[in-house]
Symmetry: C2
Subunit: 419 residues, 2 copies
């Protein structure tokens, strides 16, 4: 029986734990006699198209262990959407050519809902083009918006970062509010779904705990109501702590951040909804305001990763290899929650067709009636995802030991390909 | 011999470790039979003026231990500058009245260079007003701009946060740069001194390591040169990682952030130099840019505190009590470095007159000739300050166990006082 050769690629925005999935794939594959080589694509699907492939057998055990706790994407990732089967036919043909040239039997694609769509298409196109290839998705996204899976690897660590950060910054604001900043605004990611913003709510345990206001993309921004909520908190607590999702929208559906602003030279200013919201607070309520924009810091904060999340990320990587060895294709290992308290979960397999291009938003029942907080059921859902700490090792100089291994690409067998 | 009653107050912007100093003061005082009561002022010097005082004897050992690892200012802090002895005479008289009413023999003021000035004035005014009171400063500032002391408690933890964060976010950018963000810009605090920005340089170990560009308040912003540096890094490394101090200035001396920008409604936009710098990169170099503003997150990030910094913060608190018991006044315990490798330090006493109102900027010899990086001597200075981790305990739900104790104020003995 011939051994299965695997090609692994990372896709879309990286997460604090996507490399834990990568390491788990490689380690699981090494643990099976039925797997041949494990290649990885440089910079995601673009690396496959360009035939920029890395033989992972060169990575030592110690290097794999270090990769597992390193944020970013060790093999590189990309944002590149393959078109429909018709429009993107050249791309699909090229992918199959590359698989054939390197005798790849299974393609593992570690990404979000777009990538699930791509993986699904590849799983179908191989047969048509005379080179059937197994294709398995591995879930990943900080946005937690993947369908079917109970949660998405990557989200739990970002959620922990956000909950810890808003708890800490709120302690700062409340210490200073008598004479200085009254309102603190923290912008988090989540352009279409407010899961990350919701995670800020985990920092609040009792009534009036910070954050007192959360702005979700799912709730149209109501300036009057927002101002009343902020004022109410300042009058009651002396300060107000706000978590705002980058994706918060006007009732027209337009992003607040797209309403746009220009600098002194008339340049259109880049993104950032926090300064806009801060401006509303300062100009209308006359409270001194501070604001932070977490941006990539939240998405790379491996130093405060959730242990649960790391375990999820490893488990889906291992399961993908098992599914590959079972001959599966067009599927993705997903997390199935079997109990809330104590939290229990297991990995199941789901068809990519049920995941591709869908988007799981924060449901109404998870958002408080005020529109500015989370409900107890939301807390029950979110709480286990940030549990446990999984610190990376630190060097003697007090910095985390993250690895950027030297990666040598395999000699190419095909001609160039224009993207 | 009568026992010494101590009043402790926190001043100015809080730090991740100012509460470690507070706890150390209280614990050291409890350890001496020569100390009577230890009071703490609510919201800093304002709490003294308003006679809002807390008897710390109500805090249990366990509470003190929790306070020691909690960010923010447990007793509250404030920004309130007492005037000169003449202009602010009413304030000074009131302070002395409050000290007298509560039989305070020593005032411990935990703050930066402004607070050192206040402490110095109080140490002088007591005698004049017929109530001599010892007055001792305890150093604190994330800005690291205090004179005499080798470093300022609070800075090391912020430095660690900044170095860890830029290392992490840079791993994210480099993974995505082939198709997405090329330039990442992280704004850090330090309005007048670039120590915090310099700390970002600790993340870079080898040539071309991120951050490739640091913008210091000490180096006038040169847009042409900056663009060349960013372009150079993108062409060489595929991306560029930038740390920018909030205090970066034009050659005219004007803050970049004050050059100002207006939103779509013509409102003046609040602060934030990162979006301005990002705008320069996008409009001139056409690179996709992401930016983060750390703001209070850096100043409250007790979860990634430097062990060295925590030790410093405790040591200056303990030393302040020793100085008090030795009858000292008008002094501050400072950190004296006795060796770089291995790093050794001890606490000494310095006169407040040498610290008050002075500002220690990053010296020329610490800034690379390019103006965009740190020198080896700067690294030698900074490196020990972020060494070691000192994680707070986490609860079973994955959040740090920070304490906001119930604080009961003592009955007032004096009449109201208008600020």
């Amino acid at each position: 029986m011939s051994r299965l050769n695997i090609l692994y690629a990372q896709s879309g925005g990286v997460t604090p734990v996507i490399n834990a999935s990568a390491a788990a794939v490689i380690e699981a594959a090494r643990g099976s006699e039925r797997v041949g080589k494990v290649l990885a694509a440089r910079d995601g699907i673009i690396g496959v198209l360009r035939e920029r492939l890395i033989d992972t057998s060169g990575l030592s055990k110690a290097e794999l262990a270090a990769i597992a706790h390193t944020p970013g994407g060790v093999f590189g990732s990309c944002r590149y959407k393959l078109g429909s089967m018709e429009e993107g036919l050249q791309d699909y043909e090229r992918l199959i050519d590359v698989f054939r040239a390197h005798d790849i039997g299974c393609f593992l694609y570690n990404g979000g809902n777009d990538s699930a769509d791509t993986a699904l298409k590849i799983s179908r196109v191989g047969k048509k083009l005379g080179y059937p290839v197994q294709c398995i998705g591995i879930p990943k996204t900080i946005d937690n918006d993947l369908a079917v899976t109970d949660s998405s690897p990557g989200f739990g660590s970002v959620a922990k970062y956000v909950a810890v950060s808003i708890r800490e910054a709120s302690l700062d604001v409340m210490a200073m509010a008598s004479t200085s900043t009254r309102v603190f605004i923290m912008e988090v990611m989540g352009r279409h779904a407010g899961w990350i913003a919701a995670a800020g709510g985990l920092a609040a345990r009792r009534e009036n705990d910070p954050p007192q206001v959360i702005l979700f993309p799912e709730v149209p921004f109501d300036e009057e109501k927002f101002c009343r909520a902020v004022k109410g908190s300042v009058e009651k607590n002396g300060y107000c702590s706000v978590v705002v999702s980058e994706g918060v929208k006007h009732s027209s559906g337009e992003f607040l951040s797209d309403a746009g602003s220009t600098d002194a030279f008339g340049h259109k200013q880049l993104g950032g909804v926090a300064p806009l919201v801060a401006d509303i607070v300062e100009s209308r309520l006359k409270y001194k305001c501070h604001w932070a924009v977490c941006d990539y810091l939240q998405r790379a904060a491996r130093h405060i990763a959730s242990k649960t999340d790391v375990e999820h990320a490893r488990a889906v990587g291992e399961a993908a290899v098992e599914l590959a060895l079972a001959g599966e294709s067009g599927v993705m290992p997903v997390i199935r929650r079997t109990a809330d308290q104590p939290y229990r979960w297991r990995i199941e397999s789901a068809p990519l067709s049920k995941i591709a291009n869908r988007e799981k938003k924060v449901p109404k029942k998870f958002i408080a009636a005020s529109g500015f907080g989370i409900t107890p059921s939301c807390r029950t859902y979110l709480a286990p995802l940030i549990r446990g700490e999984d610190y990376p090792p630190y060097d003697k100089d007090g910095l985390p030991e993250y690895l950027r291994p030297e990666l040598t690409e395999l000699p190419r067998k095909l001609s160039d390909f224009d993207l």
